[in-house]
């Protein structure tokens, strides 16, 4: 077995390239009969001859290693490395001698001098055999790892040295800095927190540094081979570019410890990366894989340029002597021929290609791949842009054609006297094959039902109740189902007990009207689509008429009531009454009805049953709901999503934490968490799959929070518009106060302007009057009186068309227009409200 392997290593000559030549090393261990024959190391160097397309032998030589025959000599590795002492790159070769007993291993490093002599440089003994990767780096330094630690030796190092850090995984390399820096990278102990995850160690000065500047932490374990391309120290910060082949079959380019680019490699077990500088055409990385594959990758694009298999070794040098580098691929000898440089390929993938012994394969001279790639990309993008232009043109042509055709059609139809059936733009959304008139009838019926004419005079009161909710007193009134009065004019007001003062006073309240059960706005487009739905809708409508009750509430601040000592209030219902003999156009008269009194007790503050048990169906719960609806601020949002249906919003709300259905009025959802936050009431009213209204009764902050979470659920293309918001001040009130302010400021501004003028005049006049005419001469007197008269005339003329101070005037006009603008805004808001609601 051993014999075979030695034989094998014998045949597999170790080779390297140096100065444009190939150097082959062999261990001569001639099993000749003559016992004096020495084991030795021989080398031969070859140069490439273009005309003959073959390698010719240049020089050769040998060095003896051992005089004993029994000693087993092997070449470990060979490499060109910089000799620090001589400052030249020299071929170095490491040989091992194994003693007979196998107890110790002697290693010798030889260098090939410029005078073609093999010189021994280092000799050392190890109690073990080197395993794994052995590197020869500049120095020449021999580096290897053994039992989680790294050992190295060099002519300057005086013996074998050990790096004082132990880790299971090591990566070696050298930085191409002017004074070469050898380093080793390892993983730091998992427990040490202070240290960076990757430890770097400089062999020269023993300095420890953060290794992730060269290779990021996760890559240490998977790097199979690496090369530092450039390195630089700027302000004591190491900046470097590194190429590494990983066990994940990737070639990764790092810049300053960051992954710049990657390239998928087609083979496994990368062993060695070399760089080929092909001159103008850029650089190539050549990766050699253990099973004998080679892959060349362009440095700029990190794209694979070419691959070969069945290669025994790859060398990079200027074999042709043309100034740029080529790679030499030595293929494995299939036959038993002893000649090592028989099958080879020299190429730089940019026009240079010499090959020999590769069977029928003709020498290929491939054009620069990169150029064709660029051309291809450029052509492709031109094609793409051309295609887009073409498509645009085609679309335009189609549109034009269609327009032309339509116009021609219209023309011909006009000529032939036919009716034009074509394309009003409204027809684009054409839908129905037959449009029935039923819908129209339906709606009018609906309208009638909404505003049922009053027949009975007085509304009948079902129940009067009151609640203290938040800091407000809510008084509510539920009317019986029979009492049908128009909703528009109904309100409830509270009066103080007449006993307190001589006259009952009206307490400032806010009144609201609700339907019980809550009505949904009519949705004719949706429900008229099928006859079945139509029937059911009418059913509901008739139900409405019978079972719908009206609830009126009034809310007022509790504190002023209590401070004024008022404990009893009277509730008055105001409503519109149409006289029975009414004719169209007659204005309905308002009527008031005393409905009873409520006594307010501060101790009455009990827990709201609604918030505790929303699933119970009692009158109390219903009253709670009504008082909450009265007290809480109210927003109605119209949600419209024209392109994307909304889905089941109700379901979404219910699935959110804490929302419960209220049984007395199931269209409302309640969110109440015991705590400082106020309860929240929601009501979703879907108009069609693409539109709906959302009513929110809550504090403003809660509303905004809810909307925020809802927007993540709603489609992106949806519009949310506030329809109605009844906060403490309604738009009508805002409008009224704005108008009032406008009138006031107009009056004030004008009067101040004129008054100022008057005062001025008066002052002037005063001085005039102070000028007492001297008695004595009548002429003087006459002159004086004439002057006064003249002044009076002028003053009265000025008063008729007064001259005012321009600056002041401008000021006033400015302030008035500001006020006017506010009023206009309020007016717009008010009209929008009335239009929408």
């Amino acid at each position: 077995m051993e014999k075979l392997s030695s034989e094998d290593s014998h045949r597999k000559a170790h080779s390297l390239s140096h100065g444009g030549k190939m150097v082959l090393f062999t261990c001569k261990r001639d099993p000749a009969v003559d016992g004096s024959e020495r084991s030795g190391l021989t080398f031969r160097s070859f140069y490439f001859e273009r005309e003959g397309n073959a390698f010719l032998k240049a020089t050769g030589g040998a060095a003896s290693i051992s005089r004993k025959l029994s000693v087993h000599v092997d070449i470990v590795t060979c490499k060109c490395a910089v000799d620090v002492q001589k400052r030249v790159k020299t071929p170095s070769i490491l040989v091992t001698k194994k003693s007979e007993k196998g107890a110790s291993f002697q290693y010798s490093l030889f260098t090939l001098s410029s005078s073609h002599q093999l010189e021994p440089r280092i000799e050392f003994k190890l109690p073990y055999q080197m395993k794994g990767k052995v590197c020869i780096l500049q120095g020449p330094t021999v580096l290897w790892s053994h039992h989680n630690s790294v050992l190295y030796t060099s002519p300057l190092a005086e013996g074998v040295r050990k790096i004082p850090i132990q880790t299971p995984r090591w990566v070696f390399g050298e930085l191409p800095i002017h004074k070469g820096q050898l380093f080793a990278l390892g993983l730091s102990e998992p427990l040490s927190i202070n240290q960076p995850p990757t430890i770097g160690y400089f062999l020269e000065d023993g300095q420890v540094f953060d290794g992730s500047l060269i290779l990021p932490h996760p890559y240490i374990c998977i790097t199979q081979c690496m090369q530092v391309l450039t390195a630089d120290r700027v302000d004591d910060v190491l900046r470097c570019a590194v190429i590494a082949a990983t066990s994940k079959q990737q070639l990764v380019l790092f810049e300053n410890g960051m992954v710049k680019d990657t390239c998928e490699l087609p083979f496994e077990q990368a062993e060695d990366i070399q760089t080929v500088d092909t001159g103008r055409n850029g650089c190539l990385f050549v990766v050699f894989f253990k099973p004998g594959h080679v892959c060349a990758v362009w440095k700029e694009t990190l794209q694979i340029a070419s691959c070969w298999s069945d290669v025994s070794s790859v060398h990079v040098d200027d074999f042709l002597g043309c100034g740029t580098e080529q790679m030499l691929l030595l293929f494995r000898n299939q036959g038993l021929s002893r000649e090592p440089l028989e099958k080879f390929l020299i190429t730089d993938l940019c026009g240079i290609s010499y090959s020999c012994g590769q069977g029928s394969e003709a020498p290929k001279t491939s054009p620069p791949q990169e150029n064709s790639l660029l051309t291809l990309q450029a052509l492709e993008s031109r094609l793409q842009s051309g295609l887009i232009v073409l498509q645009e043109l085609e679309r335009e042509v189609r549109v034009k054609d269609r327009v032309l055709q339509q116009s021609i059609q219209v023309l011909t139809e006009m000529l032939s006297g036919r009716e034009t059936v074509l394309s009003q733009p409204e027809q684009e959304g054409l839908v129905a094959l037959w449009d029935g008139d039923e819908e129209f009838n339906d709606e009018t019926l609906d309208d009638k039902m909404h505003e049922t004419p009053v027949l009975s005079s007085k509304p009948k009161i079902d129940k009067l109740w009151h609640r203290i909710t938040e800091d407000q007193l809510v008084v509510g009134l539920i009317l019986t189902a029979e009492s049908s009065i128009p909703v528009s004019g109904v309100s409830l007001s509270l009066l103080t007990e007449p006993g307190q003062s001589s006259m009952p006073e009206v307490i400032q309240t806010q009144s609201q009207v609700f339907w019980l059960p809550a009505r949904s706005p009519s949705t004719p487009t949706l429900s008229s689509s099928s006859p079945a739905a139509k029937r059911s809708k009418q059913h509901i409508a008739s139900n409405d008429l019978k079972a719908c009750r009206l609830a009126v509430t009034a809310a007022t601040k509790l504190a002023p009531l209590l401070t004024s000592g008022c404990v009893k209030c009277h509730a008055m219902l105001h409503y519109m009454e149409k006289s029975e003999t009414s004719f169209p156009g007659s204005s309905p008269t308002t009527a008031a009805l005393h409905c009873g009194e409520v006594s307010v007790d501060i101790r009455d503050l009990r827990q709201n049953p609604l918030l505790q048990t929303p699933h119970i169906k009692t009158d109390e719960v219903r009253e709670d709901l009504l008082s909450l609806l009265t007290v809480l601020d109210h927003w109605v949002l119209h949600i419209d999503s024209p392109d994307y249906s909304l889905g089941d919003i109700d379901d979404w709300i219910q699935r959110r934490q804490g929302f419960k259905k209220i049984e007395v009025s199931p269209e409302y959802l309640l969110l109440f968490s015991p705590g400082p936050s106020a309860p929240m009431l929601l009501r979703w009213n879907q108009i069609n799959p693409f539109q709906g209204n959302l009513s929110i009764h809550s504090s403003q902050l809660q509303m905004l929070q809810f909307l925020d979470s809802m927007l993540t659920y709603l489609p992106d293309s949806c519009f949310v518009q506030p329809v109605k918001c009844t906060r403490s001040q309604s738009t009508a009130q805002e409008f009224a106060s704005a108008l009032e302010k406008e009138v006031l400021s107009l009056r004030e501004g004008l009067s101040s302007l004129l008054c100022g003028k008057d005062e001025e005049e008066r002052n002037k006049g005063g001085t005039g009057q102070g000028e007492v005419p001297k008695p004595g001469s009548t002429e003087e007197l006459i002159r004086c009186t004439r002057e006064v008269w003249q002044q009076n005339v002028e003053r009265s003329r000025a008063r008729l068309s007064p001259l005012v101070d321009a600056g002041k005037y401008r000021e006033i006009i400015q302030s008035i227009s500001k006020v006017k603008m506010d009023a206009d805004l309020a007016a717009v808001r008010q009209t929008q409200m009335t239009l929408i609601s």
């Binding site: 960076p196 540094f209 953060d210 500047l213 990021p216 996760p218 890559y219 374990c221 998977i222 004591d236 910060v237 190491l238 990983t246 994940k248 410890g257 960051m258 992954v259 680019d261 990657t262 998928e264 793409q384 887009i388 645009e392 042509v397 189609r398 549109v399 054609d401 269609r402 055709q405 059609q409 011909t412 032939s416 059936v421 074509l422 394309s423 684009e428 959304g429 054409l430 839908v431 129905a432 094959l433 689509s529 099928s530 024209p642 392109d643 994307y644 249906s645 909304l646 889905g647 089941d648 979404w652 699935r655 959110r656 799959p689 693409f690 993540t712 659920y713 489609p715 992106d716 293309s717």
Partner: protein, 613 residues
Amino acid sequence: MIQPPSLLDRWTQENNDLVSKCKQDALNRDHNLFGQRRCSSDFHKLLRKIQGIPPHLDHAQLELSVVYNTCVFFTARSQFEEAELLLTQGAQRVLQITGVDPGSSDPSVLWRAALKSVATTALHCHVLSLLCLQWGIWLTKSCLNSIKEFREEMSSLLERQGGAAWDDCRSESKEKIPNIPSLVLDPRRLVELLKICTAIVQGAERLNEGWSTLSALQAASALPAPRGLIAYTHLLSGSCLTHMNRPQMALLCYRKALETDSRCVCALYQSMLIYRQLENSHAEIQALRLLHSTLLLPSTTEPAVAPSHPLSPSLFLCSQSLSRLISVPSALSVLHSLALKCVIHGRISEGVEYYLDLLAAIHSEDQHQAHATVSTLPKLPKLYLEAGAALLTARRPADCMALCDEVISTTLDLVPEKVLLEDPEDGCVARSRGVKEEAESGLEWLLWAAAAYLLQGHCYSQLKDWQQAVTFYTRCVNLLVKVHYKNRGFPPQVPSPDKEQGIDLCVLQRLKGLSLAGRGISFAQIDRLREALRDLQLSLQALPEGVSAGQWCGEVLWRLNRKQEAAACWENTWSHSNTSLAEGLPVYTQELQSGPMLDSTELHRKLQELGSI
């Protein structure tokens, strides 16, 4: 030395930059294809970097997000194989992190194991969104079984965590790493799209399963989805109801589809088919007219896609049964059926106008050569002849003649000297295909030319130019006798029109009968009664159900004073007089009632006279 930024931060940043770039690109609609290509390659590059190191829990969220982004773009570009590979790799790497061995490479086992292994971690929603992409790929490959297998799990997972699932994972990750890897498409939107597309595809596959399919489709129509897809659910409900033999309810569904999305022309087309099936010709013509004008609108041809959504629904709606349902014939063929229906149902003047429109449209398209859709239309000579027949019925003989001239000038040179017809049963085997096709096309040309002559004969007889009429009818007959039958002594009397050649034979017989009848009538008009009788009798031999031939034959016999025979002839004619037009045959081979008519009450009177004698 300064600490370099961690790979994770750097890659997350890179991912987020790419996402915002892609979203920007998507707004710029014109270069969508281009942008998508670049995005997918950029994301793939980033993914290769991330997957270049061993899987690690710290990187998992980022990695899965990038897998998701890459696969979204791969799917958008229909690179389903590549996307599926990445998804499987993603699941495998998740399992490597959690140290679980699925024990099988079966995708469903793999996904189950992956979901289970991260069930309680923040990675769960990431794995879930990858599974959603896998669901989409299954959908494109119509692997409904795989989807079904996972549907319960998926829906329960999605339901249980509700809409909050994705929110949760977002907030959780917010705490851990400051910059969260962003996604190019909200997984919730993806799920919504997949849900409705799955419902649509499944509905299309199970149209004949009745109520269960119908209720599934109804449920799907309430899902949040793009407008066009909601319309499809209504469309499919309609088709389902059609299968259940409930055409009126189907019509309602189609109407709902149109109401939902006015671009859903297939609903209009399907309702037209129902009207046709119900034989409601008025509504059918109405629907055809609407369909035609809708197809001419520019908006119908462009599909509706939200601009910021990289995945178009059409990617997932590639099932065959569905595409059969949503395909609509071209505007031209709709116009043709409209014209034909009008003519068949006696709305001649409308039909004529539509035919003229159609010919004009074809002419202008010929000049622009914009579309290749003409192939679904009948061949041009046939259209000309149909239009000619319509014009003739509308009493516009001059226009009809012009069209016929056109047909004759194009076809006459191509008519072979002799057409040998095989017995259809054994002919196919005996002769090579090429020769047979040649014979068929020869027969086709011959029939067109003959029909053109027949129509011209009709024109002249309408103009009462009997001499010319005789000439053209004779030309027609001369052409028709070029057809010979092989193997048979006598042509089949009533060939079955179910085969292509069967129709040809039928047309041949009818043309023969009609041309002879026409010539006979013309002869009768110029008092050449013997020739008239001969032709009319030959005509009745070729086409026994010919009404005018029968009537005129009787009339000629009457005039020849062979009154008993005349009476028999009339009786015979009336006994099988069905004047409706045969649907399967071209319009121009029908009896057009354009020539001189005999008053049948007069004939009855004559009969009674004869009887009373």
